[in-house]
């Protein structure tokens, strides 16, 4: 499909992002990974591209507490964008499905290969060195403690980890078991291993063990 249309979608998507550049860069990374996986898994690349570009357009609204679920709201906004840029009508429902079910916490079922790929690409951005960097940039926003040995990690992730380190335990280390595609699982292996390695070093430093 013509690349112009994706440039237009990208431009529209960026108008939704908050002043911080984090959403834009996250989207770009997810897009790049999603396209690779889509090619590898012989999925509909157009659908994956459109969904990846638009998957977080309502994220800022959720962060500001204006909406509850950025996936559902994002799909609504995405429909408007896709209709405006003349994205093929028959592919719109498939792209919206990807956006509706992409969210980690809700654990919604991805019914199509394309939706599975967008979920995977989004989740691969949670782990690895990128994931670690994101934890602390997010933690910084909320002015969250980095680590507190007196606060043990919760057994189940509820979206409100009390420290950045607990966020790693509660969410990041569980991501690899939630992936759908073979390609994503393969990428996740090394990224997961790196998070474990980093965490081990971090804990040693925290305790001044050398």
């Amino acid at each position: 499909m013509d690349n112009d249309i994706f440039e237009k979608i990208k431009k529209e998507a960026e108008s939704f992002f908050s002043l911080s550049h984090h959403d834009r860069f996250h989207t770009e990374r997810v897009y790049n990974v999603a396209v690779r996986i889509a090619e590898e898994e012989h999925a509909d690349v157009d659908v994956v591209k459109a969904a990846a570009l638009l998957h977080d357009v309502a994220r800022a609204l959720e962060d500001e507490g204006k909406i509850d679920d950025h996936a559902l709201e994002g799909a609504k906004k995405a429909r408007e964008v896709l209709e405006t840029v003349d994205f093929p009508k028959e592919k719109i429902p498939a792209a919206l499905h990807c956006i509706e079910v992409h969210r980690f916490r809700k654990g919604m079922e991805a019914r199509s290969l394309e939706a599975k790929i967008v979920q995977d690409a989004d989740r691969l951005d949670i782990i690895g060195a990128i994931g670690i960097a994101r934890v602390f940039t997010r933690g910084g926003w909320g002015n969250k403690p980095i680590h507190d040995p007196a606060i043990p990690p919760k057994a189940k992730y509820d979206g409100r980890s009390l420290t950045s380190v607990n966020h790693i335990y509660e969410k990041i280390l569980n991501v690899k078991d939630t992936l759908n595609t073979k390609t994503a699982k393969k990428i996740a292996k090394e990224r997961h291993r790196f998070v474990e390695h980093f965490l081990e070093r971090f804990m040693n430093e925290w305790k001044a063990e050398i």
Binding site: H21, A129, I132, P145, S164, R201, W206
Partner: protein, 223 residues
């Protein structure tokens, strides 16, 4: 501070456990004014100081001086105002001196503690072994995995993206932003003791591994 007549610390060569507890309590109260990251930093530096003293080949390290100065080194940091010539080491030493005098701590110990506090910000050159260890322990806390966490918290506060941090790490830049300055410390640590240099090497390994991995992921080399 309560009751000037009632001595908080007793005379003698060694600080007692209660005396150190008072210093700790005072320090925590000051550090908490700095926000969430102040007190955990002081505790890490304290533990690192003690460990470095044990590892050090120096025969005489005064643990009282080392522990007290580690606890007190950043007590004036919350008073810092932007764009002033304020030095939190110098101011911290003044506050520490007043507090420790009230505790009636040995003059010699007070002076040694204040020297270490002043030296950690280079207000004075570190001369004593305790001052060198404190300076280095404080510096080591900027490095390694904990240093990476700090870099990204700083990046977030100044609206710098992950990609920009990676770029700053790879390029020598003249820009002295909040984040760049920290990356400069990581890349060229300034240390006085051999013990610290060995620890720094180990902490550098995780930093190199981290940025190598980050580059690979961002550039999709692992996909």
């Amino acid at each position: 501070m309560n009751g000037k007549r009632k001595s908080k610390c007793t005379h003698g060569d060694d600080m007692k456990r209660e005396q150190l507890q008072l210093v700790e309590k005072y320090s925590k109260a000051q550090m908490d004014k700095l926000g969430l990251y102040g007190w955990p930093h002081v505790k890490r530096v304290l533990h690192l100081c003690v460990r470095m003293a044990r590892m050090s080949r120096e025969k005489h390290v005064d643990l009282d001086v080392l522990k007290a100065s580690a606890l007190l080194h950043d007590i004036a940091k919350h008073l810092h105002k932007k764009d002033t010539a304020f030095d939190h080491g110098d101011m911290g030493a003044k506050l520490a001196e007043a507090f420790l005098e009230e505790c009636r701590l040995d003059r010699g110990k007070i002076d040694a503690i204040c020297h270490a506090i002043r030296a950690h910000t280079h207000f004075e050159e570190p001369i004593s072994v305790e001052a060198k260890i404190l300076h280095d322990a404080d510096f080591l806390d900027k490095l390694g995995a904990v240093g990476i966490a700090t870099v990204f918290i700083k990046a977030c506060l100044t609206n710098v993206t992950i990609e920009e941090v990676l770029e700053s790490f790879e390029l020598e830049s003249e820009k002295r932003s909040f984040v760049m300055k920290h990356i400069g410390w990581i890349k060229n640590p300034h240390l006085y003791t051999e013990t610290a240099q060995n620890i720094a090497e180990k902490r550098n390994n995780i930093v190199s591994a981290f940025f190598g991995e980050l580059k690979k992921e961002v550039e999709l080399k692992d996909v």
